[in-house]
């Protein structure tokens, strides 16, 4: 306290500081960021390189222990064109009129966005190339999803993961935003709701998975009367691919909505209230106030928390593993669970290859998201 007071009395304080303090202050940039960078670097490089190497090998047992045989890109080829293709990419069938129409509409949308970018005044060559590459990869993924989900084909683990991520993150965001807006109102008892809404996030993911297995049990679970009413107690919902996927997604939404909820809540709570007061004076209704004032101001927090959730959602593993064991067949198997199951079968190389494919997909989604959405949001703020 006294230090603060005396500092205020010194007109040109910098000249009075000791040389050491001045020097430290000049290198403040490095002091602030280096510890974190060094910790992340030291801890991440070795595992990243080691698992890249492992993904190009095959584990075998020989006299005197185990050995890793170098197989080049063999493990990747197995996933994309070899025997694991149906597991990883799924079973594709020739296009039907319906799927062709859906694809044409989506691709037309991509083309429209590209043309619009080419006509905009801010276009650059690298910006266009980046968008073109994004559109091509996204187009390939969309084709894979449409052709395995909307047809008689069967989605592979990559498609299932994309479905989980898309549905889970959007549902979580909408629910969390609604809940955050409800509890910032000056309602009696809002503190109770705030704490209650955080609870699901606090349970260990393995525990949540077992909890949902208990809840969804058709003969011993609490929903038994419901199942009995529809005569479903004998047929387990686990035998229905979409029923099983739905159960996994409900569990994930239940657990991770609190994560987005608390970030948005803290963000809304720290907004200055003068703008809202002015808007009330001007006679704006609550809907207008939300869209014109609150929403733009929480966009940076939104873009951050959605990116983090996207990355984490791609790694979903406990729920499908415990709830359905990936079944029926591989209908609920996520990429991480795919890597995990073949890892347990001691195909370490193949497992690392699946993990690297996941890394490639997440990196693509992450970079596209940052360049196309987040950069615009932060530039606005």
């Amino acid at each position: 306290m006294s230090g603060e007071a005396s500092a205020r009395q010194v007109p040109v304080a910098a000249s009075r500081r000791s040389p050491l303090v001045t020097r430290l202050d000049r290198s403040a940039g490095a002091v602030f960021i280096l510890p974190a960078v060094l910790v992340i670097l030291a801890f991440s490089i070795f595992p990243l390189l080691a698992s890249l190497y492992v993904s190009m090998t095959r584990l075998s047992f020989s006299e005197g222990g185990i050995r890793l045989t170098y197989v080049g890109l063999g493990n990747y080829a197995k996933l994309l064109v070899g025997i694991d293709r149906t597991h990883f990419l799924g079973v594709t069938v020739p296009l039907t009129p319906l799927t062709a129409a859906v694809l044409v509409v989506i691709y037309a949308g991509f083309a429209f966005l590209l043309v619009r970018y080419l006509r905009s005044p801010v276009r650059t060559v690298s910006g266009f190339v980046g968008r073109l590459v994004t559109a091509i990869i996204a187009g390939a993924l969309v084709w894979l999803v449409v052709d395995t989900v909307m047809t008689s084909g069967r989605p592979g683990t990559i498609v299932v993961t994309l479905i989980y991520v898309g549905v889970d993150v959007s549902a979580q965001y909408i629910l969390a935003l609604g809940l955050a807006l409800l509890v910032v109102q000056r309602l009696p008892g809002r503190r109770f709701f705030r704490v209650v809404f955080l609870l699901p996030m606090m349970i260990t993911p393995v525990g949540v998975a077992y909890l949902f297995r208990m809840l969804t049990d058709t003969s011993k679970g609490p929903l038994y009367p419901l199942w009995a009413h529809f005569g479903l107690t004998d047929v387990s919902w686990v035998t229905n691919p979409w029923g099983a996927r739905l159960a996994v997604m409900i569990g994930d939404v239940w657990q991770w909505t609190p994560f987005i909820f608390i970030v948005l809540l803290a963000s809304i709570e720290s907004l200055p209230i003068e703008l809202n007061e002015a808007a009330v004076v001007d006679g704006a209704n609550r809907w207008q106030m939300f869209w014109a004032i609150t929403f733009p101001q929480i966009l940076p927090a939104t873009s951050t928390v959605v990116l983090i959730r996207l990355i984490e959602a791609f790694k979903i593993v406990d729920l499908p593993n415990v709830l359905t064991n990936g079944g029926p067949g591989t209908a609920t198997e996520s990429l991480t669970l795919h890597a995990y199951t073949i890892w347990r079968a001691l195909d370490i190389g193949g497992s690392a290859a699946v993990a690297y494919m996941l890394l490639i997909v997440v990196t693509f989604v992450g970079i596209s998201y940052v360049n196309l959405f987040r950069r615009r949001v932060t530039a606005m703020a």
């Binding site: 202050d25 974190a36 949902f212 609490p222 990116l307």
Partner: protein
């Protein structure tokens, strides 16, 4: 108002019902659990503390030791992560960094050299030192010639990209890493692993909260002669308390509940509670009653902390700061 309450209560029920089911299951006998759904204690079934007795009396040390480990590892790693992460986040928000492409290239070349030495059978300690010296040499000579540089956003994206690889791909390398350091089955191993893996999340979340601290306050403090460190400690951190609290809760929850890394890095001594929960899935199927007790005692302290910290996430901390 009525609509608001209806919605709040509806979601509260969605959240609380599974927890209610956990609580009642922990009071049931295996027979009660297996013979169909019973909803209300005393009316539908006779509650018993048998499972609680088993966890606390029969297992005793096998419950308390993981509990202590979870508390120590969770709190320590969260505190360190929050400190390092908010410093880096503040740096990324208020200072300009330029990482030259040449420096990154030098690093990659030096790294490749070190990897080659290890692959040829050299000791890793020597390779690490040699690689570092080589890196410094390149940095001082070749790297200066390249002008292009990466900025703050690129650094931030590099950090978050470290969370993209699923844990199952990296557990074996991480195991080898800590084996070489002779840290397997210790608190230190888990703390280091959790700090490194949760840092990116802290950096990203805290960046947004620091961004919303009014620049005018920092500028006037700088004119008054406060150093960067002092501004950070006395002005920025206190004003970002809501964000710090939210981030603290997350990272604590992540560290508290982490399963796969703990499974590989610990055995008897440093085992944490998520492993104890998963261990209740015995050969005859999951033992729901024990599992329920464990999950309940696991979330107890975290709930207490959430209740204690909730009031810090309160509106109006920043209001008036600029005017005053």
């Amino acid at each position: 108002m009525v609509v608001s309450y209806a919605l709040l209560v509806a979601w509260a029920l969605v959240v609380l019902f599974p927890l209610y089911w956990l609580a009642t299951t922990s009071l049931k006998t295996p027979l009660d659990v297996n013979s169909g759904p019973f909803y209300i204690p005393f009316r539908d079934f006779k509650p018993t503390l048998e499972s609680w007795r088993y966890i606390f009396v029969d297992l005793a040390d096998d419950t308390f030791r993981p509990y202590l480990n979870t508390v120590v590892v969770g709190l320590t790693s969260t505190a360190i992560t929050l400190l390092l992460g908010s410093m880096a986040a503040y740096g990324l928000v208020r200072m300009k960094y330029r990482v030259r492409i040449g420096a990154i290239a030098s690093f990659v070349v030096a790294l490749a050299g070190a990897v080659a030495v290890v692959a040829a059978g050299g000791p890793w300690q020597l390779a690490l030192l040699g690689g570092f010296a080589f890196f410094l040499l390149l940095l001082q000579t070749v790297a200066r010639r390249f002008k292009r540089a990466l900025g703050n956003d690129d650094i931030a994206f590099w950090m978050i990209s470290q969370r993209m690889l699923p844990p199952v791909a990296v557990v074996i390398p991480i195991y080898v890493f800590f084996q070489q350091l002779a840290l397997l089955d210790t608190w230190a191993a888990l703390i280091i692993a959790y700090v490194a893996s949760h840092l990116p999340i802290v950096v990203w979340l805290m960046r947004d909260y620091f961004q919303s601290v009014p620049l005018e306050l920092e500028e006037s403090a700088a004119i008054d002669g406060a150093s960067r460190y002092r501004i950070f400690r006395s002005i920025v951190l206190p004003l970002a308390v809501p964000g710090l609290v939210a981030t603290f809760l997350f990272v604590l929850v992540f560290a508290w509940n982490e399963y796969l890394i703990a499974l590989f890095l610990t055995s008897a001594n440093a085992q944490t509670l998520p492993l104890t929960v998963a261990a209740q899935n015995a050969t005859r199927g999951p033992q729901w009653w024990y599992m329920s007790v464990l999950i309940l005692i696991m979330i107890g302290p975290v709930i207490a902390m959430a209740i204690a910290l909730e009031r810090f996430i309160a509106r109006g901390l920043l209001v008036g700061a600029v005017k005053g």
